[in-house]
Symmetry: C2
Subunit: 99 residues, 2 copies
Amino acid sequence: MLDALGDATRRSIFELLAAGPRSVAEIAADLPVSRPAVSQHLKVLKEARLVSSTAVGTRRVYALDPQGLAAVRGYFDQFWNHALAAFAQAVEQPPEETP
Amino acid sequence: MLDALGDATRRSIFELLAAGPRSVAEIAADLPVSRPAVSQHLKVLKEARLVSSTAVGTRRVYALDPQGLAAVRGYFDQFWNHALAAFAQAVEQPPEETP
DNA sequence: ATCATCGGAAAGTCTAGACTTACCGTTCGT
DNA sequence: ACGAACGGTAAGTCTAGACTTTCCGATGAT
């Protein structure tokens, strides 16, 4: 997930889709990259369960995936809170030497 | 920030530091990369305000930066909630054609 | 004062992956 | 049925950046 959002172009796509569902060509039109590049990014975002697609005729409409979004958010919170908790505990206990 | 945590090695360093402050050499000892590589990653994490360092003699002890952490978390929440809000609104309004 | 340790900086290598063009397969319209 | 639009895949290029070794300045110990 953090890998998926670690790329600037993918973040742009993510934010574009936040404004509403769009087809691949429509997304590419708003970005300085080619359509196949967008296709490849969408694949990554889809594997991360951040977006989903539905076929409408010959078009493929992509949108944020609420279910996956919730799962991903849960993962991030866990990652983050785990770090914070461990850090808080480390602050309490003075670092002990190993003589 | 998402760029900083977009790298697996940096996430490892981040989680190591969550368990408590460590010197550069100590971090490198727990990772399959060289010490200068760790140094470079720490530089990125520091610029993202995820970690801070204090000089102790000739050693440099790195730790998570609570203040920066809070700021970074705030940025992420804003990024995320903005996306969710826009998405929720997009669901409400049926996509309008432009004839 | 000298020597050892620690870690940042510089310079160079090498690979992941972001991007391109070209090419199908599929679906819709006429 | 045929042509056009859409989008995924393949194959190849090219650059960012992750990593290495080498070097040097700074600090602490004897």
